[in-house]
Structure formats: structure tokens, C-alpha cells
Symmetry: C2
Subunit: 223 residues, 2 copies
Amino acid sequence: MNKKAIVLLSGGLDSATSGAIALKEGYDVIALSFRYGQRHLKELEASRNVAEALGIKEHYIIDVNLSLWGGSSLTDATMNIPKDGVKADEIPSTYVPGRNTVFIAIALSLAEAKGAEAIYLGINAVDYSGYPDCRPEYLTAFQNLANLSSKVGIEGKSPQLIAPLVTLSKVEIVQRAIALNVPIEKTWSCYQGGETPCGVCDSCRIRNKALIDAGYPELAVVK
Amino acid sequence: MNKKAIVLLSGGLDSATSGAIALKEGYDVIALSFRYGQRHLKELEASRNVAEALGIKEHYIIDVNLSLWGGSSLTDATMNIPKDGVKADEIPSTYVPGRNTVFIAIALSLAEAKGAEAIYLGINAVDYSGYPDCRPEYLTAFQNLANLSSKVGIEGKSPQLIAPLVTLSKVEIVQRAIALNVPIEKTWSCYQGGETPCGVCDSCRIRNKALIDAGYPELAVVK
């Protein structure tokens, strides 16, 4: 039996690349996605297409409706998604309180139930939106918690949190994605709920700039 | 405006007592319960009755279906609930992988969105079922994670995890519940999905023994 890994698959470029890396490392991959009340539900359709394209056969999509209490422009339709460009040293309104903590906690549950030894995360902390729950020190603290929280942790077999992109620039992530045949055209990064990417939200801006800088302007959608 | 606290309210005796303590401390309480695929869904009805009896007006019940992957006799109907008594030094099959980590993560999201400064947990580590995610060192690790994970954490205003029962015996918890007028008869602890408590699962045994030892045998349901 192959070793197993859980891959958090949002449907975006980063998590698809993280999934491709887990597959290349030889893991049997179980994908995990979340319907958390996000306005860009389209990313779940993308996560299914990406999982299929990568040959991942087991894929859970779980409901955990963080929009019940909002607190973010991603989950509260009465707030606007910022479109004036990424601000340095500012946590934007698209920050969703507790989101990554909730997602990783659920991944730990799935990993323990399935006997998976790793959890792959698409988190990166170089060209990103400034979210506190994307930093390496956050992941270290979560690993410590994971080791204490579970039956497998007590047995010294806690799943390892692996963030293969955490120190890469977005251009380097694009290069890894291309090298691993990630179907970039099937991924979805835009925060808006439209039929096509808006081109001006932080997520579109960061993605498009990286695709252009890496030499793949034909993959960028800029309006 | 009063200070706010989130109270994790399972519908059982411990969480009801923890909620009554938060109210006595002067917090405006927001209750949080989970439909996580547990066979004893009756506890959610109890959580509503307890919230009403304690005068808690804001109560979220959120779906997060951990039974999608099972791994516990509480969430997998094909497994049996143990009924032969509490075993020392053994984690029982009623342990749900990642459950408390998922619950506390979701509570952190709610706390940040609502501006709550505390999260009250009914966890106790004296007379309990031996779950790893009920120990004080687990809570310390989670507090460390909470401080790093969020916008409010970075601002030094992370919600505090408070487990007022963690070092109390179950008899002491009953005594606190009585002193605070917790409606013990409205709480539900049994792991089985029956109409009345089974009396023989670990949760019933621990509860009944404590009620009898504390001098309230009329509140115990023993078959």
C-alpha cells in the first residue's frame, strides 16, 4: 500500500501545484475542498476539474459555512472585494477569520481517519495577500498542536504539515506548475463570483503578474 | 457594551456548566454547537434547551460532517459504542479524530468575527474518557496557535481559551452545576442515539457515578 497524503485543493494555482508535488513525491492523494460560504464558489468546480486532470480519484468537498458570521469580503456579500491593488503591510478585507485554521483542523481529522502521513498545503508567504495564517511560524505552531491533539500524535505518527511553496515566489510557483504539467487553465484564483476572472482583485493581480513575469502572458487574464 | 465570550455548548453537563460560569463572569455569551454527524443528535436539542434555560439568546449550530470519513464509533453507525466500562490508559473508539481541534478552530473564527475575547470550553481532564484533545498541554498549544493565526492575534488581542473545568473532578463539576442552577435535567450526555440515556456508555457511567457520589442520585439515570 502506498503512503497517503491529504491535499487541500482550493481550485487555485497554488493548491493545484502543491497537489502535483505530492503526487510526484509518490503519495496516494486524497483531495479536500471546502464549501465555506465563499462568493467564488466557482473555485469548487475548478477543484473538481483539477483533481480529475491530475488523476486524483478520492476528493471530499465538505460544508463548513463560515459566512454564518461573515467578517470578510469573501464571505459577506454586502462587502466589496478590494480592486485597487495589493497593499504592503495591511491585512486586506478578503482575510477570512480562522479560515486556514478550520481547514487544517478538518484535514487533520481526515488524515487521522484515513491513516495519511502528510497534509499538503498550497500556502505561500512571499507573493501573497498578507494573511497571518500563511506564515511559516503559524505552520510550526500547528504542527506542535497536531502532535498533541490526536491518537496518532500520541503514538508519534502525527501527519506532517507540508507547505512546499511557502518560500517560493509566485513566479517560481508558476515555473513549478509548468514543469509538473499542472493544468493552469483549469485553475481558478479570482475572488469575485463572476463567470470569468475579474483581473483586478488581489488574487487576479498576483497571479497575472506572475504568469507574465514567468513568460506565459497567454495564460494571464487581464482586463 | 459588555465583553463577549463564545461558549462551546454540546448539550452535555460539562459544557452547560462552562456556559453558566461564563455568564457568571459577566460575559455576553454566544453559544456554538456542531452537527458533526454524531449519532446522538439529541444533544443538539439539549443544547437549545440549555441555551434557553440559561438565557443565552445568540446560538449558532453549524454543520461540519466528520462522519464523511468516520473513524469513530460516534460518527460511524457500523461501529458499536463501548458499554463495558471506562478503561484506564486506553483511548476508546468514541474518540473522534480531530473533533476538538475542528470545534475550537471554528470557535476562533466566530470569536474573531464577533469581537469576542474569550472561548469557554467544557473540557475536563480528570474524570474523562482519555481523549488526547482534552489535556491542558493541548490547550496551551492551541492558545499559541491562536495568537499567531489571526488578525486579532497579531494585534495582541487573540481570544483566550478558557477551560474552567479542566482540573475539576466530575463530582466537583456537578457541585458547580448545582451552585449555578444549571438545568442538569435538560442536559444530554449519552453517546447512543436513543430516546432515553442508555446508562452503560462511558459518558453515562461517568455522569451517573458523579451525580450519585455528589449526593444527587435522583438526577442519575441508571438502567
